[in-house]
Assembly symmetry: C2
Homo-oligomer: 215 residues x 2
Amino acid sequence: MAVIDTLRATTTITTILERGAMAVRPVADLEAAYAHKALDSDILLGGERKNQPPEGFDGGNSPYDWPQDRVRGRRVTYTTTNGTQAIERVREVPRLVLAALINAWACADFLRQLQQPTLIVASGSRGAPALEDVLAAGAVATHWPRADRTDAAEIACAVFERDRTRLLEALRHSDHGRDLVQLGLEADLAFAARLDVSTVVPMLDGDGWLRPVAR
Amino acid sequence: MAVIDTLRATTTITTILERGAMAVRPVADLEAAYAHKALDSDILLGGERKNQPPEGFDGGNSPYDWPQDRVRGRRVTYTTTNGTQAIERVREVPRLVLAALINAWACADFLRQLQQPTLIVASGSRGAPALEDVLAAGAVATHWPRADRTDAAEIACAVFERDRTRLLEALRHSDHGRDLVQLGLEADLAFAARLDVSTVVPMLDGDGWLRPVAR
């Protein structure tokens, strides 16, 4: 199964792992994050509420908050409004990976090799589909043959096929993308819109930590 | 609000009205349909269960079951597995119309003139989105400016924009379309795939009958 929250949780967590963090622990609520830090002060806290880093956090939900020299060798506890809630709901699933536009091919490649039915969860927002998540779901699903896709997967592929040559423009026009642009975070959209630039596939282990799949 | 069940309820009901039926009454269950006929033997019964006309019905869910000389001036009680259930759920909404590919522009034109927020319900099937309904939702939503569309509407528009020059092919590849082809009903797909060929907009009146909007 792949969980997608393109703007910005799954994009940024993938990037944090790519930059050398040991592991990222997704947690649903702020209290769990603070409790984690209280138990182990070496842990970094990351994520957002209302698109901004919560009080006392080491960084927000932007990839630019997590340079290599900050994250290398560290563990990061991460909580966001949407993406980490979606992960929390499905965390018992075996081989749960995080997908985004930046690692779409890598995720599809890993999942296809399992040779099992694959569920792709486009997180969305407030119960409604989010364009950027359906777009990224399409970027993953397009690597399966048409005959193997459900109608829902094919809908996602259609969005991706229409917008694949203008991904940044699509993110800019999405509801959440517009919010982020208004907050001055357009650079995060440009970062998230780069297709297949990462080979990192974050996968949840039995202890609740996301680590890169060894491939 | 527009309710869409492209294959085949909203396509066929639009066609029955176009061919001169006085009114079509959507009902959710078979028992209600038979009860209706028992009260007024002049009523025709139409619709399907498992894609076939139920026992004692005057026609199924195919537009070819309803030629002009059968329906002109008549009233038809209609029940299907999916589409009439969707209508039942939202029937209290004012100005509820039925949309399909065949009358997408006409529906959009009527709804836009109301100058109110419009909800487009793509019925889907068994809780999952159906490609043909999202496609038709896009054919309707594409008549609103991009800035007025939610992400969900934009997703539907993307499907329509990708497939608008190959609508029949898209219907053939949809999950439900494949079922209908297997049942020998490919002609119904070809009928449903004709964009904007009808100006009939079926609207539910206060007595529970669908009638063409006077425009």
